[in-house]
Amino acid sequence: MSYKNTIVSGFKKSIPVIIGYIPIGISYGILALNTNLSPYLIVGMSVFVFAGSSQLIAVNMLTAQAAIIPVIMTTFLVNLRHILMSASLSLHFNKTPSKLLPFIGFVITDESFAIGNTLIKERDNKGLFFLSMGLSAYLGWVISSLIGVLIGRYILNFEIPVIDFVLPAMFIILLIMQIRDKMDVVVSIMAAILSIIFFFIFPGNWNIIIATLSAAVIGVIVENAI
């Protein structure tokens, strides 16, 4: 496949991600405006941070008058999961030019990971495909949060009570897209139960990363045993 075709196909595959980003980006923009952050800062965060759930969490914490260090630490903890995603994706990029990799890293998100991980196997230019998909998703995210800021600015007290369900619903579809076999179901159920138990044991967001790793390791042990 030519470079041009790869870029076009990456762009096409990003469309469902962008459509998924629109309601989240818009709700992010609206929620952030309610915390009296400046519109430039809100959109700037989308440009430089590009991490939907982290931005929503950060904005949530800023509302509660949190000090800046806990916000940074929480964001880092939430994003620790990208270490695992990034490491997992790295398996596909052994033929990709090294200078592209820092950019590929920037566009790894929950969504691009889910789509990339399922679609990347049969591609020739894996790095270029992932990069073009990620970059167009990035632009979609920045533009949606800009739209959110504009809506929030001009339609004040805009309240959608069900908007908080955007993130859980997105996790559900991304989870379904990741399931390939019965063991994935078993590991997911285990991770879910552990994440809830650890939520009450460990402070902060540690439950997510500890539950993920334990469930994945147990999954491999069980897999080797049968």
Binding site: P16, V17, I19, G20, I72, T75, F76, N79, H82, I83, L84, M85, S86, S88, L89, S90, L91, N94, T96, S98, L101, P102, G105, F106, I108, A114, I160, V162, F165, V166, P168, A169, M170, F171, I172, I173, L174, L175, I176, M177, Q178, M183, D184, V187, S188, I189, A191, A192, I193, S195, I196, F199, F200, I208, A211, A215, A216, G219, V220, E223
Partner: protein, 92 residues
């Protein structure tokens, strides 16, 4: 930086190194496991405590949302109908 480093470093460093098979098997389970870990507390925990009752609208709305996700395979449809199910539940 805190969001960029976890994404950039592993993909840059690990792409040129062959990982042991055990690590690869673990990484393959990380995708579904991490999404389940993120999702479960959002559905089962309400204001800091476990809530497995019929009053938990998030949990109830998640059931049709799962079916929608399974059959539609579409992010947009799932998110949109998910919010719709939750809206219906808040009316009841």
């Amino acid at each position: 930086m805190v969001t960029y480093i976890p994404r950039m470093l592993p993909v840059t460093l690990l792409s040129k190194v062959k990982l042991p098979d055990t690590i690869i098997s673990i990484l393959k389970y990380v995708g579904p496991a991490i999404l389940a870990s993120l999702l479960a507390p959002a559905l089962f925990i309400t204001e800091g405590s476990l809530n497995i009752t019929l009053n938990n609208n998030y949990l109830l709305a998640a059931i049709p949302t799962f079916f929608t996700a399974y059959f539609s395979r579409s992010i947009f449809t799932t998110v949109f109908l998910g919010m719709f199910y939750l809206y219906i539940l808040t009316l009841i």
